[in-house]
Subunit: 210 residues, 4 copies
DNA sequence: AATGAATGAGTGTTCATTCAT
DNA sequence: GATGAATGAACACTCATTCAT
């Protein structure tokens, strides 16, 4: 029984419902019925707002990316200097451990698995990961520059960092109780710091004080 | 005896078929028909050798772990000294990049996703990951000891290393073309080396003559 | 009055939209959404003007019959004598080939198929075809009379003619590229001419033997 | 519960079931459930034997064409001379009126309607109609030759004849009770005879009078 | 040990129709 | 008159599993 235009709200509700269902059941078992029930809607209505189940998944990728970005932006706003900015980034991503938002993390892991076999999902997933890589690379480059280091290695360092974080998400969801508590943030920090500390010094561009 | 061999061979064939199909379609879409076809068998026969599709998946986890272990054992046999042993480990896992055996890697990523929602799968997956952690921890401990460092941090370092590797597998499958080539082995190596180098020195347990 | 006019215009627009959609998708696949979009309206409004989708179809049958009749009337107005009138009829129906108005022809074929299974549609369809038969019979009777032939056969001749024309419509829609170009008008003409020429002479009503 | 291989028989049963259901409900309303019920099978089994509902329809076109061809072959076998062969053809097609096998005729009309909008169906439908046209053309050519007439017009005459017959099928299904009884065979015969009789004489190839 | 037809519950999706606004 | 969100019953199709042979 419909009244005002409410597409965007409904779409957001549906996406959130998919996130919750998917975190526990995975994408395939997140049936349209289950998503609809979680959202308090009927299955037919899901298809009124989304052309297909896959479209909801694609929208979910976007939503997670946005939320993730906003969280980072909020923390970055308060950070001054390369070091604090890097710390803010790691806190934004690994928070109080990846277990802090277990549903989002689990859903994201499922998204990764779907990206392996659904080209449309892979496309948006790759776009998000590419942006993430650039983000990390930028912050690492700043850190390198502040230490008067060459920045060419930033890309590879960022890749290692992103891999470490994504792996932490995966393990937190698929093999909890196996890992030491709260290792991720510390190890990520140590990894980046060491990588910066051991990067070759930049060519002395200026140095001479007047 | 011939019977039993046949039985084991058949089971192995079926497991391999699941691996190949799963790498491309994921577990849910890896239909029994498709697995049977890939193995050159009939659907009915699959259920003669395995009670359910899930049992094949569980067997697959074991198979991948075994293969993985054998590969490592082979490389370790030739390695002398803590440093060489660590290098052998990293080479065994990250080989010539995670893209070297893309089907196994992709299948393993899918296994991780299934572990999130299938308790039976999670159980074996966790067991494998726990063993992996112990492996890494042992090798890292050896490295620390060789550098006369305290070994308490080995657990967390191992966790970070395993996360980095699993993340590299995930990204190689879900977001290829996004990452720099061959970063994983180098970054893992750098991460471990720095972690060892920066670990606190071991308390002088012996030697100090008064 | 403006209201009522608006009402009739809207109904006509909807009927035209059904015609166009049906020509390409058939009746079942002509969804209310698609018809509404084609007419530039909303689905809800469609049901304000028509009680059901079937009602639109019934209205369409009437519309096609009317248009068809008007076209014939216009051509008949210029025709003098039985022969010219018959020619006008055939031209009105087979025009420049049945492909001249492909959407109407295809929609009409779809109407015929729906008439097979929807009694309400069959009723109006039969009414239209009965009128068509009488039309043809009258014109043929005139032709027979002008040739001093008995007119009892006119009914059967008309049936054959109508069948030929409807068959031509069907084949033009369902099997284009299969038939020779422009055969229909010529063959229909030849069929009627021969039927008249070979009808038995009328009983000598006015007996003067030579 | 399955045993011997029986694909062909099952497929034939399913096709026959589609024919019967389609004759009354049309293709869209011939649901897989309804077809399965008519055949005494389960819906899943239909999809075991046919990839899709459309495939059943395509198979039906082939079946009707075969049956039709066999009926014609049987009648042709007994016919001697062009005239008798043409008569056999018309009897094979229009039998004791198109109402003699109403289900097949109605199903065929539905096939025609589906051919308008399903390219895959159109393809097979066109193939069948093209073969039918060639058949008619050949027989008419023989008739023309026997009357020492030019045969160039055979194609158009055949087209008119096929149109008349298909139209008769359509009207018999969609508008029964509207048409005179048994007109079709007589009118078709008259049409062909007249067309042959009025065709231009063949160039005197061998005119030797005795 | 092997076959493959058969089942039945469940899947995503479609759609005419309703109705609060 | 007009909107468009909402419903609910269908729809074609999928699939792990069973089982007579």
């Amino acid at each position: 029984m419909a009244r005002k235009q409410n597409r965007e709200e409904r779409r957001a509700e549906i996406v959130q419902a998919l996130l919750r269902v998917m975190a526990h059941r995975g994408y395939e078992r997140a049936t349209v019925q289950a998503i609809a029930k979680e959202a308090g809607l009927t299955p037919g209505l899901l298809h009124y707002h989304f052309g297909s189940k896959q479209e909801i998944l694609v929208a979910l990728v976007g939503t997670i990316a946005e939320v993730s970005e906003q969280r980072l932006a909020a923390l970055l706003a308060e950070a001054e200097g390369p070091d604090a900015r890097l710390a803010a980034y790691l806190r934004a991503r690994l928070g109080m451990g990846p277990g802090a938002a277990p549903e989002i993390v689990a859903a994201w892991v499922m998204v990764g698995a779907e990206a392996v076999r659904q080209p449309e999902v892979r496309q948006v997933y790759q776009r998000v990961m590419a942006a993430e890589l650039r983000r990390a690379e930028t912050l690492i480059s700043e850190g390198l520059a502040a230490s008067v280091r060459r920045t060419e290695g930033a890309n590879a360092i960022a890749a290692g960092l992103v891999a470490l974080m994504q792996g932490a998400f995966l393990l937190a969801s698929a093999a909890p109780e196996t890992l030491p508590v709260g290792y991720a943030l510390g190890q990520a920090r140590a990894y980046v710091d060491a990588a910066i500390a051991e990067a070759p010094m930049a060519a002395a561009t200026s140095t001479q004080p007047s």
